[in-house]
């Protein structure tokens, strides 16, 4: 329990440092905007980061397992999934917590009383990171699903009609812009 106590004591410092380290992964000017603009609506990204990291750390400190901590990640991952090209850069922020904690603990990380607990704590962070990867993939899948849904919605009546009339002649006269997607769409007619 010693580690939890130690970390709880340093909670504000850990959060600040963690937040800063995450911001370092952004554009210099962006990161200052994210950091300084406190308005929830004027700066949803910074706000979500702040709320999310707090929630995750608190969950970990209270001994929650990755299962419980993972949903707390959702907001941040959802943002990073449309921001970062690579999965690794999208989820690295969780692993950065390990670095921050080691930094904060300094030499005491090597104390016999702490070290064992620390390894356990870190493996829970790893578990959270794995969940984050799951979330990330879900978000990415969602994006593609949205793309498909949107095309589907966009041509909804057309599909309905095509189905009713179901003559190839009819679908040959369909709109110019999304003819490519449309072909793919007519394969998935069942939606209603």
């Amino acid at each position: 329990m010693k580690l939890t106590e130690l970390l709880s004591e340093k909670r504000p410092a850990i959060l600040n440092r963690w937040f800063d380290v995450i911001l370092e992964t952004y554009h210099a000017d962006t990161s200052i905007f994210l950091k300084n603009q406190k308005d929830q609506f004027a700066n949803p990204i910074g706000y979500t980061l702040k709320q999310g990291t707090e929630a995750i750390l608190d969950a970990l400190l209270s001994g929650a397992d990755a299962e419980k901590a993972a949903p707390l990640l959702d907001g941040i991952i959802r943002i990073r999934a449309v921001q970062e090209g690579l999965p690794s850069s999208a989820i690295v922020f969780i692993l950065l917590l390990k670095v921050v904690i080691r930094e904060m603990l300094g030499e005491s990380a090597h104390d016999r009383s702490v070290a064992g607990e620390l390894v356990e704590f870190e493996s829970r962070i790893d578990a959270v990171a794995l969940r984050a990867f799951d979330s990330f993939m879900k978000c990415r899948e969602k994006i593609y699903e949205i793309k498909t849904n949107e095309t589907k919605n966009m041509t909804f009546r057309l599909l309905q009609k095509a189905q009713m009339i179901s003559q190839p002649k009819e679908s040959a006269e369909t709109p110019a812009p999304e003819s490519a997607e449309k072909k793919e769409m007519t394969n998935q007619k069942q939606k209603r």
């Binding site: 690794s88 850069s89 670095v99 090597h110 009609k161 709109p175």
Partner: protein, 540 residues
């Protein structure tokens, strides 16, 4: 594990070098999923846009026509002579930064070049370098730069990352409107055939066939016939709307997206039900079957060419006035441009509601009335029988679409209508609504699928406010008066706040509307069971 020495940056080789350089020296990085594909040659050729060709954004060589620099600079000169707005906005910005963090794209992407002021500076720097004495002499010190291929690419990348929503203009002490500057930028890129496909396709379709989707007349009719069938299923009432009918009192024009795309189709069904119930003497047109105007997202001339159909059709059919459906940029165009382009509409009469006798004084020259103005007047005069309780399962918030809010000033009418057809209405935080409303992130012709990530980022500020009212009040439906919103906020919500659906205002009206001779309603307009009324009748 004993020694943990990794520095944060070692953990992941962050291949990002924050540009410590000046923005002018930071070359544009064109990122995938942030831009729309180029327009096809055939679409540009259809309407006679110059320099149509097939090119790819990712290619180094954009196959620019010879002498393109001269084309651009001459184009700029012409625009400066034609538009006082452009001429003034190029000179008077003091870079105070009031607009900097007001853009949804900046908030969502954090890309400094998405600050409205900087997006404008992309153009201003070239203006200074070529059209001002100080810029010609002092060059960079005066904030001037030369026109190069990279500058052109940067223009293209960022002018198609602006949705012309005008939010920045609200906060600017001089009213500098980035929408205006983006429009000029797009005029210029269009001189070189640098159009995006998502605009180019609909423009060509609209020009030839009357609407963006390219629906031919019989298809327009059959779409609406389908709605009528669904309406009969819901209400037991058979509706037989007319098309291209001469002598009708009113011509009804709405964005074609609503004939086709969910959930806009339900709004279109709402129009049909409302007009039927009123016994309105109106007609649809297959020729003027588009209220929206993607031409507006390319060049002024193209916008005028597409818009001409509305008055031409009203004249041909001999209607008295025109009623317009729910759409955002359509209303910017109708309110601020149509009369100037294609007026005077002296062949029409000043609009008077045949139901209430109300004169729409504010539309006496253009002779076109917004459906929300029309409906608000009906409700105020007690002409509609409404059963609010049918919308009781909805907790509604209202998203002001950019153009009706900042290019028209229509703020109260839709709210009045919603409050009269829904019990549960909650406003989003005050700096995200009305004239300060956030864009859906996909307006002005960039609602393609290849740039979905850009759209999601741009939609974040809006969705974030939606999430706030969802969390706080349990809001589960977002109402709007814009066809693009209906499509794109569906997508943005699906990603950011999946619990909240999207509806047009008239859909809510139709759901609450008690129609003469209707059967007991068990279905809502979406043909889904009405909560509280399920089971009383089996419907296929």
């Amino acid at each position: 594990m004993a020694k943990f020495t990794a520095k944060p940056n070692d953990l992941l080789k962050i291949n990002y070098n924050p540009p410590q350089t000046d923005w002018m020296d930071t070359p544009v990085e064109i990122r995938e999923h942030m831009y729309c594909h180029p327009s096809k040659k055939k679409d540009l050729d259809t309407v006679g846009f110059p320099n149509g060709r097939d090119w790819r954004v990712a290619d180094e060589d954009w196959k620019l026509p010879a002498n393109w620099e001269q084309t651009i600079l001459e184009g700029m000169q012409a625009l400066l002579k034609k538009y006082r707005s452009f001429s003034v906005f190029m000179d008077i910005c003091v870079r105070c930064g009031a607009c900097a963090d007001k853009c949804h794209f900046f908030i969502g992407t954090g890309d400094p070049k998405n600050m409205p002021v900087l997006r404008a500076e992309l153009l201003r720097s070239v203006y200074r370098g070529n059209f001002t004495l100080a810029g010609k002499i002092l060059k960079k010190i005066a904030g001037a730069r030369d026109l190069t291929v990279n500058v052109l690419k940067e223009w293209w990348y960022y002018f198609y990352q602006c949705t012309e929503c005008r939010r920045c203009s609200v906060f600017c002490p001089y009213g500098i409107d980035q929408a205006e500057i983006t429009m000029m930028g797009r005029e210029l890129t269009n001189l070189l055939g640098l159009q995006i496909g998502w605009s180019g396709g609909p423009i060509a379709a609209c020009y030839m066939k009357g609407n963006h989707l390219g629906l031919e007349p019989h298809t327009v009719k059959s779409c609406i016939d389908l709605f009528s069938e669904d309406i009969e299923t819901i209400t037991g009432i058979k509706i037989e709307p007319s098309f291209n009918r001469k002598g009708a009192e009113i011509l009804f024009v709405t964005p074609s997206g609503d004939l086709f795309a969910n959930p806009g189709t339900y709004t279109a069904m709402g129009y049909l039900m409302l007009f039927h119930e009123l016994g309105l003497d109106y007609t649809w047109s297959t020729y003027a079957s588009e209220g929206g105007n993607f031409g507006f997202f390319s060049t002024n001339e193209m916008a005028k060419r597409l818009n001409a159909k509305i008055y031409a059709e009203a004249k041909r059919l001999g209607v008295k006035w025109i009623l317009g459906g729910e759409c955002g940029h359509m209303w910017r165009v109708l309110h601020q441009y149509m009369d100037t382009w294609n007026g005077p509409a002296d062949f029409l009469q000043e609009p008077v509601s045949p139901i209430t006798g109300t004169k729409f004084e504010n539309a006496k020259s253009t002779k076109m009335v917004h459906i929300s103005e029309f409906t608000a007047d009906l409700i105020k005069n007690g002409k509609l029988k409404l059963d609010k309780s049918r919308n009781d399962h909805l907790k509604v918030t209202y998203h002001d679409s950019c153009n009706p809010a900042r290019g028209m000033g229509m703020l109260e009418e839709p709210r009045y209508v919603i409050k009269n057809v829904c019990k549960n209405f909650y406003e989003m935080p005050e700096n995200t609504i009305r004239e300060k409303t956030f864009c859906c992130g996909s307006g002005s012709g960039i609602n393609a699928s290849e740039n979905m990530e850009l759209r999601m980022r741009g939609g974040l500020p809006r969705a974030n406010a939606v999430k706030f009212v969802h969390d706080k009040y349990g809001v589960n439906m977002l109402a709007c008066v814009c066809a693009i919103d209906r499509a794109t906020l569906s997508a943005a919500n699906e990603y950011w706040v999946p619990e909240v659906g999207v509806t047009g205002v008239t859909e809510l009206v139709a759901n609450a509307l008690v129609m003469k001779g209707e059967k007991e309603r068990t279905l809502d307009i979406r043909l889904e069971p009405l909560p509280g009324k399920e089971g009383s009748e089996e419907v296929s």
